[in-house]
Amino acid sequence: MRLHEYQAKQVFADAGIPTPAAQLADTVDDAVAAAEEIGYPVAIKAQVHVGGRGKAGGIKLAENEAEAEEYAEDILGMDLKGYEVKRVLVEEAVDFVNELYVGVTMDRGEGEPVAMVSTKGGVDIEAVAEEDPEAIAREHVDPAFGMHPYQARKAVYDAGVDRELARDVSSILQTLYQIWDDKDGSDAEINPLMITSDDEVIAADAVLNTDDDALFRHPDLVEMEEEGEFEGSELEEKADEYGFDYVRLDGNVGIIGNGAGLVMTTLDLVDHFGGEPANFLDVGGGAKAQRIANALDMVFSDENVDSVVFNIFGGITRGDEVAKGINQALEQFDEIPKPVVVRLAGTNAAEGMEILNEDLVTVEETLEDAVQRSVAYAQEGSQ
C-alpha cells in the first residue's frame, strides 16, 4: 500500500526523523486556521497519490492569510491528474539552503535492500539515476544482518554530503532503513531532505510504500489504509471490491483470462491482430462460477468495451466452473450487451464446452482464432 504524505511523515516523526510542523485539513476554514497556528509562510499540499504534485498545481506557498484562503480553495476539490483532492497538508515552509535525497528500496536483481543517498535532492530521482547515475551513492544491505551503522555513514560520505552534516544525515538514513524493515517497506524515501542555513536537517517530503503481501502483520498500516478513501476510477474500485488484478487501458476489446502471463499474452495478441485492448483482467487460479460472472460484470461496466474475449487455459481452474459462470452472467440479460468470444482449454475443457450455452457466446478452438474474432467484433461494434 501507499501511505499518504501526512501518514508517512507521522511514521517518520514517531521514529525520530525531524519533520516540519504540519496539520491536515479538509476544509478551507480549517486550512486557514492551521496556517495561522503554524505561522507564515506555509506550504499547502494536496494529499493524493500523484507524482509531480507541485508542477500540477497541487502544492502552493502562502505568505499570508489571504493567500492561504485562496490557495486552499484552489487545491481542495481540484482534479489532480484524475484524482479529486479531498485533504491538504498545511505545513511550515522550511527555509532551506540545500536539498538531499535519501531512500531505501528492494533491489530485485540482487535480492537485497539498497540504501541510496544523493546531494541532488528535490528533483525526480529517477531522472538523476538515468542521466547521472554516479550522483547517487548506493549501499546494499545483507538482509540477514540489516544495515550496519558504518554502511549508513559510508553511503553519506560516498555521496559527498557536507562533512558537518554527515552524522545527522547518516542517523536519518539508519532510521529510514529501520522503518523500511519494520513496516515491510517496498520504498521509503525522503526527497527532499532539506538543510537549513543553521545546518538543521528536515524531511520536507515523505514516501512510504509497503508490501501488500505483508499487510497481515501490520494492523497499524491497515488502519491507515482504511482512513484514506479509495483513490481511483469507479472501475478500479469495483475491481478492488471483486479482488481482481485489473488494469484499464485505452482500447475497446475487453479481456478476461487466468494467470498474469497468459492474460498479458492475450493483450499482446489483440494488439498483434490489429485490435486495441481495453483492459487486463486476471481472475487468478481456481476461479469458481461466481468469480467468472463477476469478471464479465466488471468488463461490461466499461463503456469503452465493444467485444470481450475470454481466454482460459485450465490448470487448477476448471472449464466446467468457467462455463457455469459465463452462463450465469449472460443468462440474466434479455440481450447480450457486447459479443463474447470464449476459448476454453486445459482441465475439464470438454465438460465446460458441454455446459456452455452457445446461443450466448461465440466459441473458438484456439487462442489466435478467439482473439481475431473478438477484434473483428470490436471493429464492427465501434463503427
Partner: protein, 289 residues
Amino acid sequence: MSVLVDEDTRVVVQGITGGEGKFHAEQMIEYGTNVVAGAVPGKGGQEVAGVPVYDTVEQAAKAEDANASVVFVPPAFAGDALFEALDAPLDLVVAITEGIPTQDMARVKRKQDETDVHLVGPNCPGVITPDVAKLGILPGNIFSSGDVGLVSRSGTLTYQVVDSLTQRGIGQTTAIGIGGDPIIGTSFVDALELFEADQDTKAVVMCGEIGGEDEEQAARYIGEYMDTPVAGFIAGRTAPPGKRMGHAGAIVSGSGTGTAESKINALENNGVPVGDTPEEVADNVEDLL
C-alpha cells in the same frame, strides 16, 4: 534424461493437510510422482493421500529418505517453511505458495545462497519431467516426453506454449515454472545452465515477461555460454509503464527498465528468435530442432 526431477526424486509435501496440499499431493501421486511423506507441525502420525505425515521436514526426510519438497504452506508461514526445507537438507525445494512477503523471500534467498539446494519459485506452477514425475500444480495431461526444455515465469502461459508443442509432436525433457515474484530461487540463467548441461535437451523454450532484468541477463548468458539453441517469448508488449500486470514482478518501472522491447532486443541480439505469438514460438522450435 531430465533436469531437477527424475525417477529418484522422493517428495515431502509441506502443508499436505490443507485443501490445496492434499488435492495436489493426490494429483502428483496419480501422475506417478514418488510422494513419500507430508510435513505439517502438530499433524505428525496422521496419514493423508496415502502417505505418512511428520511434524518436521527433517523427520520426514530421514524416515522416508526424501530428497525434495513441494511447499503449499500459506504465505504468512511459508518463509519459515522454506527455511525448514533448506535446513533439512534436501536437494530440491519447489515453492507453490503465492503472496509471500518480499522481505521474507530476501532472507530465504540469502539462506539459499549458502546452500547447494535448488529452490524453485515461489508463486510458481512447479517442475515436471513428463511421464516421470511432477512437483507442483501443472496439469500433467498436456505434457509429453521429448527433447525440449522449457522455462517460464508464468503458469498458464507455460500450458499454452506446451500445448502448442505437444500438438505438433514436440515433447519436453523438463518444464520449470520459475514464478512471477520479484525475488525467486531459480532465475532464468540458473534454469538455462541446467538445460545446457543436460545431454538430452536439444532445444530450450524461454517464456519471459516484463519487469526486472532477468531476461536480459539470460540473453547475455545464452550468447556467451550456450550451445543448445533457445527460442524465446516475452509477454507484456502492450503493458503501460507503472502498472503492475498481475504478477508482483511484472511491472515496467517509470524510468523505462523492464520493458518487453529491451528484453526482445537482448534476446534477438544473442541469436534467440522471439515469437510474436505462442504458435510462432512453436514454429521457431521446429526450425531449431
